[in-house]
Amino acid sequence: MDAIILQILNGLDKGSAYALIALGLTLIFGTLGVVNFAHGALFMLGAFCAVTLNKLLTLSFITIDETQKDFLGNPLKVETPYIEGWFGPEVAGTVIEWSVPLAILFAIPIMILVGLVMERGLIKYFYKRPHADQILVTFGLAIVLQEIIKYFYGANPIPTPAPSAFSGSFDFGALLGFDPGTIIYPYWRLVYFGFAAVVIAGVFAFLRYTTFGMVVRAGMADRETVGLLGINIDKRFTIMFALAACVAGLAGVMYAPINSPNYHMGMDFLVLSFVVVVVGGMGSLGGAVAAGFLLGVLESFASMSQVLNVLPGINQIIIYLVAIIVLLTRPRGLMGRKGVMED
């Protein structure tokens, strides 16, 4: 039982990342009709916002310490962060330690700007082009973005730890009446799950309870009619693109302490997120979230050694297997609407 609870927790956690990325993907598809293969790169850019803020906070001035030697035997160059000089070591240490949560504030304007530039500068020219063209140009853009990151940050993963307050694990076992230590789960992963839930709820509330959201939903249902009513739906869809970029970016920021960011992390999530969108139903926000969590949990169970001993390799194909079964039985996905991607 404790093993099952742990795998459900794992699945929900992994599903959080899938759901956040898939939510943005399906939002862009539902509003602009664009299949955005650069969405994984936006997730990666978010993670590198956390890395960048950490680097900015640790920008240092150099002093020479004659009493210590470097690896060549020369006097050691000691690096001291500027903020340590300005605010003292205690405050500076705390600020640097909390750089990942602080990066949320740092990433929001950057990701909105990236989204706006991407949509206005490139993607708007491909609205009326076939989906194959959109896929090619956005995939190309993803490669360009990851090569830029690799140029500046290198190919190796960059450790970006969570604040020490969240570095331990929570003992669910003791809470649920199991033996202590049998069901433990890292604090930061719980934070990530909670954060994903808040962001998803926020996006749904924004679309459901604001006039802006209502217009966007109307535009998603019938773009032409909304345009005939005198509403500039294109402008609102551009803002939705920026919002989707921001959601992906924030997902990346908070993911940075879970796995050290590297330039390729967006691609690792992209394909699976597309499967999530297809299983959930193209253009369906609820479907993307539900499928994200469902596939995350299934993938976790498929990775258990008890399952692998019976079905070797099932962990690598489970998501695609489920996708095939869902599409055979429900060709529009779990919550897909009629008419989407069917013209």
């Binding site: 795998q7 470097d70 690896f71 879970i258």
Partner: protein, 447 residues
Amino acid sequence: MPGFKLDRRGLLKSGAVLGAGLAMPTIFTGRANAFTNEPTGSSVTLGFNVPQSGAYADEGADELRAYELAVEHLNGGGDGGMMNTFSSKALQGNGILGKKIEYVTGDTQTKSDTARASAKSMIEKDGAVMITGGSSSGVAVAVQALCQEAGVIFMAGLTHSNDTTGKDKKANGFRHFFNSYMSGAALAPVLERNYGSDRKAYHLTADYNWGYTTEEAIRSSTEALGWETVEAVKTPLAATDFSAYITPVLQSDADVLVLNHYGANMVNSLTNAVQFGLRDRMVNGKNFEIVVPLYSRLMAKGAGANVKGIFGSTNWHWSLTDDASKAFVQSFGTKYGFPPSQAAHTCYVQALLYADAVERAGSFNPCAVVEALEGYEFDGLGNGPTLYRAEDHQCFKDVLVVRGKENPTSEFDLLEIVEVTPVAQVTYAPDHPQFAGGQLGACNPGA
């Protein structure tokens, strides 16, 4: 046909002329093609086939730096580096056999087919007489086979799988780097001293060639100590989040986790294992421990503080204090501003060893080079006395057991050397079961 008369004398003359005519191209081309890409001008071209893109691009960049440094030293530039400490004095700093060294580079992308294509291009289009480099066993095995077919020498870069000099060994291929068996043999006594002989190990293994041989080597050496292997799970090479593989460890009664992972796999699985509090656990009345059989400083940097206190093995480390290592670190550090990685070291050494073998053989002919390297004993290249064993073209030398440093003093100071395992302890018979199945075959000069 009144004007044409063929007599016996005429037939003999015609036959002689025709025979000489037919033989002439063979005489000339036979000299030109004594072996593949025989250098005929004042320079010789070497091919550096390293990952310049993909997940191991940083390691590849370090390999390339080392090769450029080696070329500089071999051509007589710089401070000479380890040429000054090398036991052989055949190298004169005037290139190889008086020919200036030039080089071309290829990008393996850490993909076997891409690596073969770039090596083939360097051999056929650029005239490379030797191919070297790489940061993956899959790539090494593929490129080694290609070089064997093409008739050029392959000096492997970073490749740790037993198979490179085991079942996939080739006469034209040589490996300076250590292997999975050696890691197991070096680590086992240190693990026993620190963790005892009554342990239960859980293996997570990267699902490809290198992972299999490393798991086999570590299992074999730890089970010989008395350790029990409770589970061994293959993990996809493309996996990024290992939580689903780590949580079953919590449910088992294992008290040691062995991560047969390298590169980003190692960084992520180790980070995940620490996040799940494995290192804070007590199981079977013992502290839970993690072991990483193959360490790399570049990877350790990616894992950050998570490597502290964790044992592993490495081929070479910049903190070694022998004269050769110090000379190499000085030379590399002065040129690039940071210490070299183990990948850089093995590539630099391979370049020097090839050049030295050609000088001693007096020829670039691959078969002469093979003869010069087989059974060759040398010193002064950073690993102590070393033998290039003739039977499998594997270098035998001391192996370093390292541990993640608790209090690093710089961004490079991540690992500390716990033990220098003597070569005798990591030496095995050429027909050892972990290396069985392949034949070295005969050298191929090509052409």
